[in-house]
């Protein structure tokens, strides 16, 4: 009971913090450019954490996250732009936006189910190729669909997304995915990553779990897509190329496959880096590739590995640092004495 209460309290505190930041933005204390960047960060946190569920926790290599974001973004955009399409006209304004985001997520989840069911029987590189192909198929379809503007994109959306909305979504995503990972279902997913055959012999229905994880991740990717669409007020197929998938993958790999806090940190850092290096935009892909190579060489498990950044971990590393320092000091003393 006390545990549940403290979790709720934490949740409330975090939300209050997000809301306070939003108020500071509204009051003009944070300039609009930074407000925008922070909102994008929150959206990328959703994308990276959800991709981590597939790539990091289940150990399946998906490159199709941009595709799911596109499905969510276009679905939600169609709903908010057409006042009586799909949802009845009584839902307007922000309520319509929230429902549209949910529906965008659900559509992405459904598509994820359709794609995942046959392709998750594949392993490693094959799955990467299939999901990469899927992302491109979605993009080409949208490119040729005149109802949503084809190549020029779908314009004139209302700017429903603000920082707090994106922040709230990221907190919900983190909470749900964290709880999933810590449940016995999550344990089953990790066992698939560790050794699929052993997992199967333990009675873990591996394909089912891979599909479940894929569907959950697709759902959140879809909602992130909707947030993005209603932040930039337009959607174009060009925003959902495989480069977006690669960016998300980079966040997951940089932060550590399997580490949620790692994904969060990497999403924030890389979004910031992309802004700070705007002048070198043309070289971005070179930088990304370099970064990936460097991580693989020096930190193959990512910055955090599978660990989570927590108070306990900080305390422990501090302790080990201190003992090491003390040992060094003792060595120095004995060396001096000799």
């Amino acid at each position: 009971m006390a545990k549940r209460f403290s979790a709720l309290l934490q949740f409330a505190l975090v939300l209050a913090l997000g809301y306070a930041i939003q108020m500071a933005m509204d009051a003009g204390m944070i300039n609009r450019y930074y407000a925008h960047v922070m909102t994008v960060m929150a959206i990328f946190v959703v994308g990276a954490v959800s991709l981590n569920l597939i790539n990091g926790i289940c150990g399946q290599f998906s490159l199709g996250h941009a595709g799911f974001m596109a499905v969510g973004a276009y679905t939600a955009a169609i709903i908010t732009k057409n006042p009586d399409l799909i949802l009845p006209a009584i839902f307007t304004g922000n309520v319509r936006f929230i429902l549209a985001t949910l529906l965008g997520g659900m559509t992405a989840a459904f598509v994820g189910f359709l794609v995942g069911l046959p392709s998750l029987r594949l392993r490693g590189d094959y799955l990467a190729i299939v999901t990469l192909g899927f992302g491109e198929i979605i993009r080409i379809l949208l490119l040729n669909w005149d109802f949503v503007g084809g190549a020029s994109g779908y314009f004139g959306l209302v700017r429903h997304t603000n920082f707090f909305a994106a922040f709230l979504l990221s907190i919900i995503t983190i909470t749900i995915i964290r709880n999933f990972i810590q449940s016995s279902h999550g344990r089953a997913c990790v066992s698939i990553r560790e050794d699929e055959i052993a997992a199967e012999t333990m009675g873990v229905p591996t394909t089912r779990y891979k599909v479940i994880a894929f569907v959950i991740a697709s759902f959140f990717a879809g909602t992130a897509g909707s947030m993005m669409a209603h932040l930039t007020q337009m959607v174009t197929p060009a925003s959902f190329t495989f480069i977006l998938s690669i960016e998300l993958l980079l966040m997951v790999v940089l932060g550590g496959l399997g580490s949620i806090t790692g994904s969060i940190g990497a999403a924030i850092f890389l979004t910031y880096a992309a802004e700070a290096l705007r002048a070198f935009r043309a070289y971005r892909m070179i930088l990304y590739s370099l970064l990936l190579i460097l991580i693989m060489l020096f930190r193959p498990k990512g910055l955090l590995g599978t660990q989570e950044l927590s108070y306990g971990l900080l305390k422990e590393s501090f302790k080990s640092l201190r003992t090491r320092w003390q040992r060094k000091k003792n060595d120095d003393i004995t060396a001096a004495a000799e």
């Binding site: 016995s184 344990r187 089953a188 990790v190 066992s191 560790e194 050794d195 055959i197 052993a198 997992a199 199967e200 012999t201 333990m202 009675g203 873990v204 229905p205 591996t206 599978t306």
Partner: protein
């Protein structure tokens, strides 16, 4: 308890198992011996549902299980200690064991199983928080066996538990297999180490390139000249 009839397994064009029939009765230790590539592991993987037979029957407690999925086969009480142990290397010993009882939703039963496994393997209890990948080969073998025990199997199939272990550890592992058997678990043991396997088994089958070439009680197998020469290292090993 387990009855395999005329099993035919193919890997694409390769005919790996050519009509194998074998039987394991309740309460027995049955061993399947043979050289590398004879098809021992394939038979075991087919029984546990990881490979599909092209032809043949696999009957367990009177039910045909040849078409069942691997995770459903665990559910009905057959568990497997896979070749090469295959522990979850990045998880702790306890987490590995808990996954073994993955199918059980009953917390108390899980705790009981865990206690029982720790009784069989005090070493695992000492190392319960250690990451499985850092265990020694023998400890990993114990962990793989403990994990398979967690689902309280009626039939436990072990694939080369002696692989890569020092003789003293092999003897220890085999005495634990006997203990597990005494508590009422039927055992199907696959081994290259025929000496060890025959020392604890009731009956044995000898497999050569996908076919059973000999079967019988341990006494019969031990008495056979062919077996002695091919698998037991001739007269020298007969001590």
């Amino acid at each position: 308890m387990l009855k395999v009839e005329n099993l035919q397994v193919y890997y694409d064009a390769i005919h790996a198992i050519k009509g194998v029939s074998l039987e394991v009765s309740q309460g027995e230790i049955v061993t399947l011996i043979g050289a590398n590539g004879a098809g021992k592991t394939t038979i075991l993987r087919t029984i546990s549902g990881l490979e599909k037979a092209r032809e043949g029957k696999i009957e367990y407690l009177g039910r045909d299980i040849a078409s069942q999925q691997a995770h459903d086969i665990v559910k009905i009480g057959i568990s497997q200690v896979p070749e090469g142990r295959r522990v979850f290397t990045n998880m702790s010993v306890t987490e590995n064991l808990e996954l073994g009882a993955y199918l059980s939703k009953d917390r108390k039963a899980k705790a009981d199983s865990l206690k029982r496994v720790f009784e069989h393997f005090p070493r695992l209890y000492e190392r319960r928080t250690q990451i499985a990948g850092t265990l020694s080969g023998g400890e990993q073998q114990m962990l793989a066996m403990g994990r398979a025990l967690m689902s309280k199997p009626k039939l436990m199939m072990l694939d080369e538990p002696s692989m890569g272990l020092a003789p003293i550890l092999v003897r220890q592992i085999f005495s634990i297999i006997k203990e597990i058997h005494k508590e009422g678990t039927t055992i199907l043991l696959i081994e290259q180490n025929a000496n060890m396997a025959l020392s604890i088994a009731d009956r044995g089958y000898v497999l050569e390139t996908g076919k059973i070439v000999m079967q019988g009680s341990v006494q019969e197998l031990l008495a056979s000249e062919e077996i002695k020469n091919a698998y037991l290292g001739g007269e020298a090993a007969h001590s």
